[in-house]
Symmetry: C2
Subunit: 354 residues, 2 copies
């Protein structure tokens, strides 16, 4: 034992978790995709909480962008407390949960099944209330996650969605190119993990501030939410995630001198739009402390902490590598602040809400 | 001129704005509701930014709870930057915007119309790009809003949605009870405005803290988001909105001793669920400064700042009165902190994002 935290150890396990899911998940993903193609849902409805909800945000862009499916995040209280579930009989209803335990997520999937929707559980615990409620299950096989803050199960959830997308492409269009791209991901993630140390050395950039902004858009809107959640959970930093567009509609008022800003900015059509916009000038003019996670040298060059991403990751898979330096950063920042990243105060691994 | 801020003046105008919209909006709402009943959409898709997006959150619960319609908040970058809009030809697509100017919101509605969806603009500026893009328009008629922080246009947007709900009920079920409930709202809102002064005197409760939590669930999830946005915009407070359920999945780590917590808790089935949960004990155990907006004496009695709501507001209309004390509180807190609530730094009234 080197005194390494559980959170850090699970961050490092991620390449292996993805490699393993690539093998075990392809078969189930293909079977589910055939069922989806046959069912032809008019809506994808996803129920999730916490980190799993951030994986659901990825799916909003993934299924929207690659399969033209409208995706809604569920409002669980309509199903539970209000007992007035919306009509979702023609939907593909997906519950995402590491533990498969949270009653509110289970209720949405169970109601979907009652109505005749196509139901799927994406979970690390197939033999759980969620796994049993859904018709289909895609097990994450990530092994036991012991740190309270999710890392490898979050990455596995993203990867599960990307396997489903590759399988849908095969089922709907008979094309298999996406699998080639997926196959390269575990090694690219491994490459990103190895660069973690350089990020850790820069925690002083954020150490003085009790608040921070985390910006990301499109596919990496999910990454902004997930990294803000990590900073809150493990570092007690008031980190607010925004798309740069939403940020300009009001919250911009928070941008005070010296504020840490983490911008997740892999190559993307949304970046083309923003280059014309005043975002970087704005951050510079207000003297924000800029941490930029990107594969674009012209953006990295304007950051105080430049975190280069490996080249060759297509945008639809970029959230899998872009989140990693942020996980490492949160883990290191927590230790730097004298906090235990494995046991945030007041939190437990399994949270049961209704 | 008494030196009253524009923001405060517009807060006080709200009862008259609703009274006027009750007259002008009923006809258009009924015509739109008949079109919706005939179209029978399989999904409601709403595009909005900032405060308007919070009004959209209200509509998620309103249309879900009262009409069993699934509601999704749009992801505008799929329509704009990515140029891969999802299939929404059977949806009711609604754009909500005070100015009707933001290109990203206009794009979603324009694409909906291209695909054959039923499109509606809810706007204070019918003769705007948004108003022209949609087939149907429901004008807010709130008059010019001059403070950068929205108040009367937000309340008018909520009211516009509730008019549509009453009209849908008439069109779908031939029942007219909702109109009676709507008719009483302007007077109840007036009653709440008159109580603003007692809230203003208590700003010291939040004055020392640069961060705050705002909790609300179900119908008042929207209110939590809107009040957090007001606190950010006008008071530069890092206010984070959560449903109590999401809050327990991670962000609970932020609950440090003395933290201001605003809980929006009108009578509701979601409150029955939470009474069993450890929320209030948790807040008390961590010595949070508790501001509670509620009509429930047993909850008010456990707050440092108890903000009683008028009785007799049905839950589906409660966001119209519950947001008011929070608007007043934000306005007064901004002045207390020496900030100008009418002109938050860096913000402009009309924000155009793509």
């Amino acid at each position: 034992m080197t005194g390494q935290t559980l959170f850090r150890r699970e961050i490092e396990e991620q390449p292996r978790v993805l490699e393993s899911l690539l093998g075990s998940g392809r078969g189930p993903a293909q079977a589910i995709a055939r069922a989806v193609a046959a069912f032809a849902p008019n809506l994808v409805l996803i129920a999730a909480r916490g980190s799993s909800d951030n994986a659901a945000r990825y799916a909003q862009y993934l299924f929207g962008n690659r399969h033209r499916m409208p995706v809604a995040l569920a409002t669980p209280s309509l199903f539970g407390a209000y007992q007035t579930p919306p009509r979702i009989d023609s939907a593909w209803v997906i519950g995402v949960s590491q533990s498969g335990q949270s009653p509110d997520v289970v209720e949405v999937v169970a109601e979907g099944r009652r109505q005749g929707a196509l139901t799927l559980a994406i979970t690390n615990t197939p033999d759980s209330p969620l796994g049993r409620a859904a018709e289909w299950t895609l097990p994450l096989g990530a092994g036991s996650e012991q740190a309270v803050a999710a890392s490898k199960t979050y990455l596995a959830q993203l990867f599960a969605f990307s396997l489903l997308s590759a399988a849908l492409e095969s089922a709907q269009q008979g094309s298999f190119g996406a699998w080639e791209e997926l196959r390269r991901i575990p090694a690219l993630v491994e490459q990103t993990v190895r660069r973690c140390e350089s990020v850790e050395q820069a925690v002083s950039l954020f150490a003085e501030s009790s608040s921070a902004l985390v910006l990301g858009r499109g596919y990496n809107y999910s990454t902004a939410f997930e990294l803000a959640l990590k900073l809150k959970e493990t570092c007690q930093v008031w980190a607010q995630p925004y798309s740069p567009a939403d940020f300009l509609h009001g919250p911009l008022a928070l941008l005070t001198k010296g504020l840490p800003v983490l911008w997740v900015a892999p190559s993307s059509p949304v970046l083309q739009v923003e280059e014309g916009a005043p975002l970087l000038q704005l951050l510079e003019a207000r003297d924000a402390r800029r941490m930029v996670i990107s594969d674009r040298p012209e953006l990295l060059g304007r950051a105080q902490l430049a975190v280069p991403l490996p080249a060759g990751v297509p945008e639809w898979l970029s959230p899998l590598s872009a989140v990693l330096p942020g996980q490492c950063f949160a883990e290191a920042l927590a230790r730097h602040k004298g906090l235990d990243p494995d046991r945030p105060p007041g939190l437990t691994k399994v949270t049961r809400t209704r």
